[in-house]
Structure formats: C-alpha cells, structure tokens
Amino acid sequence: MRICCPLCGARDRREYSYRGAALPLPDLAADVEVWHAHVHLRQNPAGPLEELWQHEMGCGAWLKVTRNTATHEILAVTLAEEACA
C-alpha cells in the first residue's frame, strides 16, 4: 500500500502512522451524547472511508486520506490543514 503525500510524493505505507477516522469536531459545549458518539461510535464501512494519516517518517504532515477499507485503494489525499480550511 502506498499513499501519495501531497508534499513528498508516493511513499510506502511504512512511512505513515494511522491517526483514526477523519471526523468534524463537535462543538466543545456539545452534549455528552454527541461527544460519546464522536469518540466511540463508528459505522465501520466496507468501502470508502475518510481517515487521518500522518506522514510521520517523512514531512510530518497530517493527511486526510479516503481509503477503500475493502481493497485498500487510496481514492483521495489532501493535507489535513487544507481539508479543514
């Protein structure tokens, strides 16, 4: 599996660290149930999923990666800073 870092180019999976699902952050004042869902509840789809990966052994950037969990096909990669802008 290779992920194409927007800064470094295509790199081996071993250079990256998985950082979990890419989810919008709830409002800090949101209800405990909302936070519970944010922290714990996942759909776990067999198919495209938006995830955060960090190019830890490379440039250090956090990336938003759309990965097909069934095939490991990488469908999209953007810098997390741009994805959140």
Partner: protein, 193 residues
C-alpha cells in the same frame, strides 16, 4: 570529562571539549565508498509564520543567497546550504541564521541535534537501497533533490549533494546506529562484487 573533587567549576569547564556526533566512528572506507562525518557548523530550523512564506523566501534570498526550498529540494551556496526539512520547514546549514529572518519565521537552533554524514562513491544509491524505501537512482533523485524519509526505521533527511554523493542526517542520538547500518549495507553490497 570528570569533575575533579574540590576543583573550582571554572577549572573544570576549561576541560570541556567539543565532540562531534560521529566522533570515533568515522571515516570508513568499504568497497568503493567513503563514509565521512560532515562538520555541520550551525543548524537552524526555519519555520515560516503564517502568511509570511513569500516575504521569508525573499529575505532568505537577500541575506543567505537562497530562497525557501520547494518540497523535496535543496539549495547550496558558498559555505551554506538550505534544505527542505518537512512540511513548512527548512534547515539552514553552515552560518547562523540572520536576525532579519526573526520577524518572518520561527528560528530554532538545532546545532548538535543531528548527526550528518556523507556517503560517496559510484553506486552509493545501491548501498542506500538496502536501507531506504525510496528510488535514489540518479535518473530519479537528482543533484539538489532532498527527501525526508526513513533509513532503517530512523527518521532521516537524505540529500543528493553531488554526483555519487549523498548527505544523510539522523538525530544525533542515533549516530552510532546510523554508522552501523550504513557499514553493514556497504559491506553487503561490496560482497556482491
């Protein structure tokens, strides 16, 4: 250094001697390759403040003769080099960073923090191919190209500085491991003849 009992601190301080990260480990000559420590001079990590990227690059050009490097690239000038060192980071090697840069970027003195070696000789990329998951052949990784990548599980910076010569940097605490792994790879490739 040991502190002599009862010696004034000033006396003890006089005995401090600078030790380079690879002292006692290099140079090495194996096969057709030479592995040497690079005396780095000052190392300054330069991280542009938000919105200051272009002004910083112009200031770098004016005071150090090199603009902010694009990702995976480096610049070399007389007695100085500036290499891309990760997302929104560059490393100035050689002279201390000019004060003019301070309003535009976070400047962090990381001198003594990194071990820096030079691997030189025809086919040096064959040695690195044992350790690095990147295509470093000359037709792909040209002079001036630079990459943050891993070298045998160590976070590394690798720059093609001249024909057949790579500059390799890892954290100073990993100097001995770096030399060990490069030595093993040089021996292994040399043994294949």
């Amino acid at each position: 250094m040991t502190l002599r009992e009862g010696a004034p601190v000033a006396d003890a301080m006089m005995e401090l001697t600078e030790t380079s990260p690879c002292a006692g480990l290099l140079p090495l000559r194996i096969g057709g390759w030479a592995l040497e420590e690079v005396p780095p001079g000052a190392l300054t990590l330069i991280a542009p403040y938000k919105g200051q990227e272009q002004a910083l690059s112009a200031a770098l050009e004016a005071v150090h003769g090199m603009g902010f490097p694009a990702p995976n690239r480096s610049h070399a000038a007389r007695e100085a080099s500036l290499i891309w060192f990760g997302r929104a980071q560059a490393l100035l090697i050689g002279p201390p960073a000019a004060e003019d840069l301070a309003p535009l970027a976070a400047l962090t003195d990381v001198s003594d923090g990194w071990a820096m070696v030079r691997l030189e000789g025809a086919g040096a990329e064959d040695v690195l191919a044992r350790l690095v998951p990147l295509d470093l052949r000359p037709q792909v990784f040209e002079i001036g190209h630079s990459a943050r990548t891993e070298l045998k599980h160590m976070m590394a910076s690798i720059t093609k500085v001249e024909e057949n010569a790579f500059q390799i940097m890892v954290f100073r605490s990993l100097a001995r491991t770096l030399v060990h792994d490069l030595k093993r790879a040089m021996e292994a490739v040399a043994a294949r003849g």
